[in-house]
């Protein structure tokens, strides 16, 4: 086990498919406390904007989803606009 990596932490892979930290595309790993949520990761990475969508292992996950070791978190554009609210008609 790498130094600093304990049962109290999880490491998630992250990828950002737009300009981030000066790069057109960003890939890296983030160490989080065990039990950390997706929302906490977004806060830490500064990617809380509503036009940023997040997938965990290729699926939608809510902000309170708890991250697991080895998860792949993808930050992508939330485009093709329109709300998901139910029809009022």
């Amino acid at each position: 086990m790498d130094a600093g990596l304990t049962r109290d932490t999880v490491v998630v892979q992250v990828e950002v498919f737009f300009r981030y930290r000066g790069q057109p595309l960003h890939r890296g790993a983030e160490m989080m406390a065990a039990g950390a949520t997706l929302g906490a990761l977004r806060e830490r990475m500064g990617l809380t904007q509503p036009h940023v969508a997040v997938l965990v292992n290729g699926r939608y996950a809510p902000p309170d989803a708890v991250l697991a070791d080895g998860d792949l978190v993808s930050f992508v554009h939330r485009t093709e606009g329109g709300s998901a609210a139910g029809s009022t008609v």
């Binding site: 290729g58 554009h77 485009t79 709300s83 609210a85 139910g86």
Partner: protein
């Protein structure tokens, strides 16, 4: 300016300019194509016969200074689906038609076989002329050059290309953009084949008769215009993402969701997706410079500017515009991970006047049948430039579209609904879009109600009928007003502005619920046309294999219950 309607009968050559009928006063774009077709076309007519009607209708806000609102709807009975069709495009046609005072151009009848016409609209002076002798049979770029020489560079052209002349299922209608490229297609539903069957080579709408579109409540209009543009500018999506990345912005998301068509829909993610994705495309355009543009407006006055111009290694323009659907259907779906190849396919399809979705899906079926190797860009270019252009038997098979290609080649994995190819979102991974493909009266068409932006588990079938219904209604509102679907995301944050624009333009006091009810009524009228044309509820389905064959990487099948699909338009 009195608003009017132009009627042209190509059998008799009769041309009539009529005042806008009172009961069409609140109709435009898709609501007007639906009204005209349901009232005047026999649902049982032969789509390629003289009984079909071909309608151009700019949106209700087209021709105004409102950004992204000058799209044009083309309506007819589709030779591809056998049902009603509204196929929507940007470019300059909608803008100039509306500014010339036309709510609709209604073309009936058909010219004598082998005879071609250009319909010239020069204000109230409307005439049919023979096209330049070199243009029937020519590619759309050369034809546009010839027509601009004759009519002047300020006109807008809507062109029937070689695919339309041959009445192919892949045929769209190519509209010229601000710089004169015939690159903005009414792509879907083989509307170009209907134009070709009528013997109409082009619409030429002159640009020197431009008048303001009426807005009887100027203060309300001004208020709506200012508020709409403020929200558009301040939204990070319309203000920055679409200008930077265009439609390709969605590519990486769809790939990660496992919904990117790959090798004829046999997988949902593609190893080469990043190489042909939004970041790679933008960075390559920036690196090559020259004539390349990462952002470009396809119509005058668009502030979103989602289009682009892709250059070759020497900086010379290859194609405009690189679009997600093309990268999906003619990239990953064919095993192609080369941006230069996709740019050449785009150029060729523009020149043929061909829908890249239908063409890519048909090529995928042909590749599965072993007619072409996966990933062979040169073979694809040969098929497009030689076989489709010349109408060889192979070109005819591809040109007929994915459904016919599958039947001829004995392939079961054919991605169509109502015989129209599925867009670049696999419905097993994006079930809301699957519902749209099934239940839209347009057949498989993401532009009828795309659910990709919703914060939802797209693999979960629950709630997807309601989601699709909502998006289809919102989309119909956009199609009626003439807005690009990229403005659809502003419908909530700028709701009041939209209402000011609508009411200011039409002297009404509508609320958003009125607009929604109106849009729903349009969809129901379109469904009724389809039922009368013989497209029963059994055609509101994906092919069976989508429910049987598991899609990697999520091992997903389409599992929205049929009963839920059937109920989508029944609730009030």
């Amino acid at each position: 300016m009195m608003e009017r309607v132009l009627r042209v009968n190509l059998t008799t050559g009769d041309i009539r300019v009529e005042s806008l009928p009172a009961d069409w006063r609140l109709l435009g774009g898709r609501s007007l194509t639906a009204r005209i077709l349901t009232a005047e076309a026999d649902p049982g007519c032969d789509p390629l016969g003289p009984g079909n009607i071909l309608v151009w209708a700019p949106g209700l806000l087209s021709g105004t200074v409102v950004s992204s609102s000058s799209r044009v709807s083309v309506g007819c009975k589709s030779p591809l689906t056998g049902g009603i069709k509204e196929s929507n495009a940007g470019g300059q046609t909608g803008l100039l038609l509306a500014q010339a005072g036309y709510r609709a151009v209604i073309v009936s009848g058909a010219a004598a076989p082998g005879t071609w016409h250009v319909l010239v609209i020069d204000g109230e002076n409307v005439r049919l002329e023979p096209p330049p002798p070199s243009t029937p049979g020519a590619g759309a770029y050369a034809a546009a050059d010839e027509l601009f020489r004759r009519y002047g560079r300020q006109c807008a052209l809507a062109l029937c290309g070689p695919a339309g002349e041959q009445r192919m299922g892949i045929a769209g209608i190519g509209n010229t953009d601000r710089e004169g490229r015939p690159s903005r297609l009414n792509a879907r539903g083989a509307v170009g084949a209907v134009m070709g069957a009528k013997g109409l080579k082009a619409l030429a709408v002159m640009g020197d008769q431009r008048r303001p579109v009426p807005a009887p409540h100027p203060e309300q209009w001004k208020q709506g215009t200012l508020a709409y543009h403020r929200v558009l500018r301040e939204s990070p999506v319309t203000g920055r993402l679409y200008p930077d990345y265009g439609t390709l912005a969605v590519m990486e998301k769809v790939n990660r969701l496992g919904g990117l068509p790959t090798r004829n829909f046999s997988a949902g993610s593609f190893a080469g997706a990043e190489a042909i994705g939004s970041v790679a495309t933008r960075e390559l355009i920036l690196a090559r410079g020259g004539e390349g543009m990462t952002t470009h407006a396809c119509m005058t006055g668009c502030a979103i500017r989602c289009s682009n111009v892709f250059p070759d290694a020497g900086g010379r323009e290859v194609a405009s515009s690189m679009e997600f659907e093309t990268h999906g259907l003619m990239g990953s779906n064919l095993g192609i991970d080369d941006l230069d190849a996709i740019a050449r396919f785009t150029r060729l399809c523009n020149d043929l006047g061909a829908d890249t979705i239908e063409t890519g899906a048909a090529l995928g079926v042909a590749m599965e049948a072993g007619l072409l190797p996966w990933g062979d860009a040169a073979a694809i270019e040969r098929v497009l430039d030689r076989d489709v252009r010349r109408g060889t038997p192979l070109g005819r098979i591809i040109g007929a579209g994915a459904g016919t290609a599958g039947r001829v080649l004995g392939i079961r994995r054919v991605p169509v609904v109502k015989n129209q190819a599925i867009s670049a979102y696999d419905p097993r991974a994006l079930k809301g879009n699957g519902v749209t493909y099934c239940t839209s009266p347009m057949g498989a068409d993401h532009t009828a109600g795309n659910t990709i932006a919703a914060d939802t588990d797209h693999l979960d079938p629950r709630g997807k009928v309601a989601l699709s219904r909502d998006m289809q209604i919102r989309t119909a509102i956009m199609d009626i007003l003439g807005f690009c679907s990229f403005a659809r995301g502003l419908l909530d944050p700028a709701a009041e502005a939209f209402l000011h624009l609508f009411n200011g333009r039409l002297d009404t006091r509508w609320e958003m619920d009125d607009l929604r009810r109106h849009a729903l009524a349009v969809i129901r009228a379109e469904v009724a046309f389809n039922r009368a044309a013989g497209l029963g509820p059994g055609t509101d389905r994906l092919p069976e294999w989508f429910r049987e064959e598991r899609l990697p990487p999520h091992s997903a099948v389409f599992d929205v219950p049929d009963a839920d699909l059937d109920a989508i338009w029944t609730q009030d």
